[in-house]
C-alpha cells in the first residue's frame, strides 16, 4: 500500500505540474488578449481570403475561403515533401551503394558529395539553388528547348500539358494489369515451391504494365492531346510560355536543395545497413549457387533494410519539416500561405500557428506510422 502511494505521488505531481503550466499559459493568453481587444475563434476560416497564390494544385483564388487557402498550402507542402522523399531516396540509395564501390573514383566522389552537402546549412543551399543556380538560367525568349518540347527558364520550367480523353479507362487498364501481376506472382511462387521452376516474373510484369494501357490507345478508347508551351509576348522585352504547364522555379530549387541535402543522410543509412550484414552471409549465399543479383535481392537487402528503415524514417520526417523553409524563397507552402499571408491578413496568430503546428504533427505522425508498418512487415518474424 505504502509503496503504491509512493509510486503514484510523483506521477500525480508531474500531472499537476503539466496541467498548471498549460493552465497558466492559457489564462495568461486569455487575459492579455482580452486587455488588447483581440478575440479568439476559428470562424475566420470561412471568410473570403481575398489574396491569390502563385501556384496551387487545386482551383483557388482570392474569392475562396481561408480554409481553402490552408488546403492549398498543405497540398503544396505535401507535394514538395513527396517529391523530396522520392528523389532523396533514389539519390541516397545510389550514393550509399557507390560509397562501397571497389572503384576508387566512384567511392571517393560519393564520399565527397556526402561530406559537402551534409555540412552546408540547408537554408544556404536553398538560397544557392534559388538565387545562384536558377538565376543563371536564360530568360524565356533566349531559351533553347530541353528534350525538344520543354523550356527551362528563369521564370520556371515549362512543360507540355497533357489533355486526356477518357482518362478513367486508362486508369482501369493500369489497375487491371496490376491485379494480374499479383496473380502471376502468386502463381510463380507456387510453381517455384512445388516444382522448382522459375518464371521471369519481372519481365512479364513490365510487359503487362505496358501492353494493357497500350491497347486502350491503339483501339482509340483513350486519346491524348499534348498542348505544347508556346512563346507569348507580354511586352516589348518580356515573354512567357503559355499553353503548357509552368513548374515554378521556387519548387525546383526547393526540391533540389531538400533532396540533395537529405540524400546524404539516406546514403549514410544505406551504407551502414549494407555494412551491417556480415560477410559470411554473402559467402554462404554464393556457396549455395545464388547469382550476385540474387544475393543482393534475396539475402543482403532483406536483412539490410531492417537496419536502414528506422533511421531513414527520421530523415523523411526531417525533410518534411525542413520543407517549411520554403517561405524563404517564395514557394507557397503551408508556412508561407497560411502561417504567413493568412496570419498577416487576419491577425489571428494563436489560432493559425496552432493549426499549422497540428498539421505538421499530423504529417510527421502519418509518415511515421507508414514507415513503422513497413518496418514491421520486413522485420524478422520469429516462428
Amino acid at each position: 500500500m505504502n509503496l503504491r502511494i509512493k509510486s503514484i505521488i510523483p506521477q500525480l505531481l508531474t500531472l499537476l505540474f503539466v496541467v498548471a503550466v498549460i493552465g497558466f499559459f492559457t489564462i495568461n493568453a486569455q487575459l492579455n488578449m482580452e486587455e488588447r481587444g483581440i478575440d479568439f475563434g476559428y470562424g475566420f476560416l470561412n471568410q473570403e481570403s481575398s489574396f491569390d497564390v502563385q501556384f496551387s494544385l487545386i482551383e483557388y483564388d482570392g474569392s475562396h475561403s481561408y480554409a481553402k487557402a490552408y488546403l492549398v498550402g498543405l497540398l503544396n507542402t505535401i507535394l514538395v515533401s513527396v517529391l523530396g522523399i522520392i528523389f532523396c531516396t533514389i539519390i541516397g540509395v545510389i550514393v550509399g551503394i557507390a560509397r562501397l564501390s571497389p572503384n576508387y573514383l566512384i567511392r571517393n566522389t560519393a564520399a565527397w558529395y556526402v561530406e559537402f552537402f551534409r555540412n552546408v546549412p540547408l537554408l544556404l543551399q536553398i538560397f544557392f539553388w534559388y538565387y545562384a543556380a536558377l538565376r543563371a538560367l536564360p530568360l524565356p525568349e533566349n531559351t533553347e528547348p530541353l528534350f525538344g518540347v520543354t523550356y527551362l527558364t528563369v521564370k520556371g520550367y515549362y512543360i507540355p500539358r497533357l489533355i486526356w480523353e477518357n482518362f478513367d479507362i486508362l486508369i482501369y487498364s493500369i489497375l487491371a494489369s496490376i491485379i494480374s501481376i499479383v496473380f502471376i506472382r502468386n502463381y510463380a511462387r507456387k510453381l517455384q515451391e512445388e516444382k522448382g521452376q522459375q518464371l521471369p516474373v519481372f519481365l512479364i510484369s513490365v510487359g503487362l504494365l505496358l501492353i494493357l494501357p497500350a491497347i486502350t490507345f491503339i483501339t482509340g478508347m483513350v486519346q491524348l492531346d499534348v498542348s505544347l508551351p508556346v512563346l507569348k509576348q507580354l511586352s516589348k522585352t518580356s515573354f512567357i510560355y503559355a499553353e503548357g504547364i509552368s513548374v515554378p522555379p521556387e519548387l525546383i530549387a526547393l526540391v533540389l536543395a531538400l533532396s540533395l541535402y537529405t540524400a546524404t543522410f539516406v546514403a549514410e543509412c544505406v551504407r551502414a545497413g549494407i555494412q551491417g550484414i556480415s560477410k559470411g552471409q554473402k559467402e554462404a549465399a554464393a556457396s549455395v549457387g545464388l547469382t550476385p543479383n540474387q544475393i543482393l535481392k534475396l539475402v543482403i537487402m532483406p536483412q539490410a533494410l531492417r537496419i536502414i528503415i528506422p533511421p531513414t524514417t527520421n530523415q523523411y520526417l526531417n525533410l518534411t519539416k525542413n520543407s517549411s523553409l520554403a517561405a524563404a524563397i517564395a514557394y507557397p507552402d503551408l508556412v508561407l500561405v497560411f502561417a504567413g499571408t493568412a496570419l498577416m491578413q487576419t491577425g489571428r496568430a494563436i489560432e493559425i500557428v496552432s493549426i499549422t503546428m497540428l498539421t505538421y504533427l499530423t504529417l510527421s505522425l502519418s509518415i511515421s506510422i507508414l514507415m513503422n508498418w513497413y518496418n514491421k512487415k520486413i522485420a524478422i518474424k520469429e516462428k
Binding site: D52, Q54, V154, K155, A330, M344
Partner: protein, 345 residues
C-alpha cells in the same frame, strides 16, 4: 471621547482624499510610459531597411521619417532623442512584435486599414506619410501604363502586406490573370525582380522609389504613373494604453504643427518669446500641455529641437536623398497638401 473620534474621522477622510488624488495623478502616467522611463529607452519597431523611412547605415545609425517619429517619442518621454532601441521587423513579424509587448511603438511604413485597427489589438495614431501602391517595370519592356499589362504577367511583392490584396483587386478588375510571387524580405523581392523572375515589382510608391536605388541599374527601371490604392502610412501602438497612444499621436502632431508655424530645430528657443500663443504653447512657454500625458512642459520643445519639424525630417530623409523630392500630398494643407493635424492646445 467624541472629539477624538471626530478628529480621527477627519484624519481618515483627509488621508483617503489624499490617496485618491495620488492615484488619479498616478493614472495619468501610462504603464508603457513608466516602463519606458524605467528602461531608459523607447522600443521602436522599424523596417529591415527602406531608405528614407527607416534604414541603418554601415555603423548602425538609423535614419528616416519613421525613425524620426520614434526619436520624437524618446525626446518627449526621456529627454534624449538618441535613447531609442530599434527592432528591424519583417512585414510578417511586425504586429505580433507589437501585441506581444516586444516593442512599444511600431513605426514601419504600415498602412492604416479598418481591420488592422479594429481587429487585432492595435491602434493607429496618425499618418506620417500618404502613399499609394504603384508598379515598377523595366524601361526596355516599353510599358508606360498599367493598362499595358497582359495575362501571364508575374508580379513580385512582399508577403503579408496590403499590397497582396490591392494587387488582386487591381488585376481582377482588369480581368488579367497574373502570377503573384511573394517574399518575406524586401531585399529578396528586389533580388528576384532584378534577376528577371518577375515582370513587375509592386509596392507603395515611396517604397518603389527607395528600392529602385538598390537595383543594379536603377536607370533601367521606371515607376508607372498610376496609383492603384490609398496607403496612409503611420505609427501604431498596442491597444489598451490610451495615454501612451496620446503621447505617440501628439509627438507626430507636434512635428507637423511646428512646421505649420515655422518653428524649426534652429529657431525653437527664440520662439519662446513669440507673440503667437499657439507658437508659445508648442515650445512650452505657455500652457500646461505636457501634464496631460504625465510629462513636463518642455516635451514638445525637445521634439522640435532634437528631431526637427516634419518638413525638416522630410527634407533630410526623403527629399535630399533623391527618393521623392516632390512632397506631393505630404505637404501642409496650407501649401496644397493634405497634412492637417488638430491644434495642440
Amino acid at each position: 471621547m467624541l472629539r477624538t473620534l471626530k478628529a480621527l474621522v477627519y484624519l481618515l477622510t483627509s488621508i483617503a482624499l489624499l490617496v485618491s488624488f495620488e492615484t488619479s495623478a498616478f493614472a495619468k502616467k501610462s504603464k508603457t510610459l513608466k516602463k519606458t522611463q524605467k528602461m531608459g529607452f523607447v522600443r521602436c519597431g522599424v523596417s529591415q531597411g527602406l531608405p528614407g523611412f527607416s534604414n541603418a547605415d554601415a555603423s548602425g545609425n538609423w535614419t528616416g521619417v519613421d525613425v524620426d517619429l520614434c526619436r520624437a517619442v524618446a525626446a518627449a518621454t526621456l529627454g534624449d532623442s538618441g535613447k531609442v532601441k530599434f527592432f528591424p521587423l519583417s512585414a510578417k513579424e511586425r504586429f505580433t512584435a507589437l501585441t506581444s509587448g516586444e516593442i512599444d511603438v511600431l513605426s514601419r511604413n504600415t498602412t492604416w486599414t479598418l481591420s488592422r485597427d479594429a481587429d487585432i489589438g492595435l491602434t493607429f495614431v496618425g499618418v506620417n506619410f500618404y502613399d499609394g501602391q504603384g508598379f515598377m517595370v523595366r524601361k526596355s519592356s516599353g510599358i508606360t501604363s498599367v493598362n499595358q499589362f497582359k495575362a501571364g504577367v508575374s508580379a513580385c511583392t512582399n508577403l503579408g502586406t496590403t499590397t497582396e490584396l490591392n494587387m488582386r483587386d487591381f488585376f481582377n478588375s482588369k480581368g488579367i490573370k497574373y502570377e503573384p510571387v511573394t517574399f518575406e524580405k524586401a531585399d529578396e523581392v528586389v533580388a528576384a525582380y532584378d534577376a528577371g523572375r518577375c515582370d513587375t515589382y509592386t509596392t507603395d510608391k515611396s517604397g518603389l522609389a527607395a528600392q529602385r536605388i538598390k537595383l543594379s541599374k536603377p536607370d533601367d527601371h521606371i515607376v508607372l504613373p498610376e496609383t492603384i490604392s490609398k496607403e496612409p502610412l503611420g505609427p501604431v501602438v498596442r491597444q489598451g494604453d490610451a495615454v501612451w497612444e496620446d503621447i505617440v499621436r501628439w509627438s507626430l502632431n507636434v512635428m507637423i504643427e511646428a512646421e505649420e508655424y515655422g518653428i524649426t530645430s534652429a529657431n525653437a528657443d527664440s520662439m519662446k518669446s513669440s507673440d503667437n500663443p499657439a507658437v508659445k504653447r508648442l515650445v512650452g512657454a505657455e500652457g500646461e500641455l505636457g501634464a496631460a500625458f504625465g510629462l513636463d512642459n518642455d516635451w514638445s520643445l525637445r521634439i522640435i529641437k532634437q528631431v526637427g519639424n516634419y518638413g525638416e525630417s522630410y527634407k533630410r530623409n526623403i527629399a535630399d536623398t533623391g527618393i521623392l523630392p516632390d512632397r506631393g500630398p505630404n505637404q501642409l494643407w496650407t501649401k496644397g497638401g493634405i497634412l492637417y493635424v488638430p491644434p495642440a492646445r
